[in-house]
């Protein structure tokens, strides 16, 4: 528990974390607002085909915020400080204080999970109020099951980013890959045009938890399970690698 508190305190004092909070909390609302304004006339006329997705599309892009969170949580530990302040890495201090590597990793993952759940709840609140503000009485009702799906998607994505960064130790690659992949021009969408197997990639499967688009492949629960399996695999591999690896290397 103390390790968990320490991890929370470390995360909150990271300089880059505010960017993650800002993007995570407000980007979905802004996207939703733009989308609602663009769709408003069609929705009022009752001809919009995308009414069921209003709001959720913002949530699917706002996941960028928790990607930054998951990546920064690990990559900040491996950042080499300047040679003037000893050239050390935070990870050596962290592991001196919490010698059990598994405990350390679990505490960190726990902190990331808690923060991303909270961040997603904040994002849902801002998004829902944005749709109500713009669409007024035409705003769609938000179902709990889909909102819970969105929370799961955010949390799993954060943990996925976390696991990948433990493996790479450097924030640049996971950040670039995951950010591009959760954008409009994602690799998985491209791959899903070629092979059906791409629907089992974590982000495609995870999106099925709350996005009911036409090219839907999984039911929400199988989508969640597939994504959870990816997270579990990455986390186990990360834990094994982290356990065996020399910190200084």
């Amino acid at each position: 528990m103390r390790a968990f508190n320490a991890e929370l305190s470390k995360l909150f004092s990271l300089p880059g974390i505010w960017l993650a909070f800002l993007i995570g909390a407000f980007a979905p609302a802004v996207f939703t607002a733009l989308d609602s304004i663009a769709e408003k006339e069609e929705i009022i006329a009752g001809v919009s085909t995308r009414l069921s997705e209003v709001g959720y599309i913002g949530l699917s892009f706002g996941v960028q915020g928790v990607i930054i969170l998951g990546v920064l949580a690990v990559s900040s530990e491996y950042l080499t400080e300047s040679s003037e302040s000893g050239g050390g890495q935070q990870i050596t201090t962290s592991l001196t204080v919490v010698p059990s590597r598994l405990h350390f990793l679990l505490a960190k993952a726990g902190a990331v999970t808690v923060i991303s759940i909270l961040l997603c709840i904040v994002a849902i609140m801002t998004t829902v109020s944005a749709t109500h503000l713009i669409l007024g009485e035409y705003a769609p009702a938000f179902e709990w099951s889909r909102l819970i799906g969105a929370v799961c998607y955010w949390t799993f994505t954060a943990l996925l980013a976390f696991g990948i960064t433990v493996l790479t130790k450097n924030g640049i690659i996971p950040l670039a890959v995951l950010m591009i992949n959760s954008s409009v021009v994602s690799f998985s969408v491209l791959l899903s045009k070629i092979t059906k197997l791409a629907f089992y990639l974590p982000d495609r499967a995870g999106l099925d938890m709350f996005m009911f688009t036409s090219d839907k492949f999984h039911t929400p629960s199988t989508g969640g399970l597939v994504m959870f399996a990816w997270v579990a695999v990455f986390f186990i591999v990360a834990a094994i690698v982290f356990h065996r690896r020399d910190v200084a290397s």
């Binding site: 880059g16 960017l19 300047s82 924030g171 640049i172 670039a176 021009v185 491209l190």
Partner: protein
């Protein structure tokens, strides 16, 4: 000690080139981008082959990966300038080269010298792959259009790299620079494509390599696109140099 200005510039350029060439992450990024581009070219080609055969232009398919490719070059630009700030290398640099304006401009020049051939090779390899795979099915094209497009794409990637380098020099930290640039190029820009004027760096730059098509109105000619993107790049480089000269290192 008096050194002639010309000799000074050559020495600075040599030093900056040396620094870039010996940065391991730069090579990793370039090799990664190259491999990624081939994989994407393969994916797009097979998607194109499955689609309506005979209607697609080889150039369009070969360049379809440009959208992803620019991520590698954005990373390249950011790494080139931000690497100075990890571990206080910047103080050594400025001790040996006390002319800040010269130093930063030479860094951009050195970066361009490295980027131009690499960008050309990477873009050409993608087009070549599409060419080999689709020789039989696709519509033919003339060799000078291909050269023009390749040069345009190379120029676009180089200018994007320089733009990222300038933004990296302004922000001085890798992660925020990466998040902002990737967020702009991959999330904000594609989502707001319908609203925004054609004069933003990525939209204007895309006219440099987009093959002229008859069914959509080309707002800008390749030359205009080049001019606008160059203007953006120069503005950011100038801003970076001004801040660099005024700011405490």
């Amino acid at each position: 000690m008096s050194v002639s200005s010309g000799r000074k510039i050559t020495q600075i350029l040599g030093a900056e080139l040396d620094k870039l060439v010996t940065l391991p992450l730069i090579w990793l990024t370039l090799i990664g981008t190259f491999i990624l581009n081939l994989v994407l070219a393969a994916a797009f080609t097979s998607a194109g082959l499955q689609g309506a055969a005979g209607t697609q232009s080889i150039l369009n398919i070969g360049l379809a990966s440009m959208g992803y490719l620019q991520a590698g070059f954005i990373i390249l630009g950011i790494l080139a300038t931000c690497s100075e700030y990890t571990g206080g290398q910047i103080r050594t640099t400025l001790t040996t080269i006390p002319w800040r304006g010269f130093q930063l401009s030479m860094k951009h020049l050195a970066l361009a010298i490295i980027t131009i051939p690499v960008a050309f090779i990477i873009v050409a390899s993608g087009v070549l792959y599409a060419l080999i795979m689709m020789r039989d099915t696709a519509v033919g094209f003339e060799i000078d259009t291909m050269i023009k497009t390749l040069v345009g794409a190379t120029g676009y990637l180089t200018l994007t790299t320089l733009l990222s380098a300038a933004i990296g020099a302004l922000l001085r930290r890798t992660t925020p620079a990466l998040v902002i640039l990737l967020g702009y190029y991959f999330v904000v820009s594609p989502l707001t494509r319908d609203f925004q004027p054609k004069y933003f760096p990525d939209t204007a730059g895309s006219y440099m390599y987009m093959p002229p098509s008859s069914d959509e109105i080309n707002v800008l000619t390749p030359m205009q696109g080049t001019g606008i993107l160059m203007l953006w790049t120069l503005i950011f480089i100038t801003a970076a140099i001004v801040f660099y000269r005024k700011r405490d290192a």
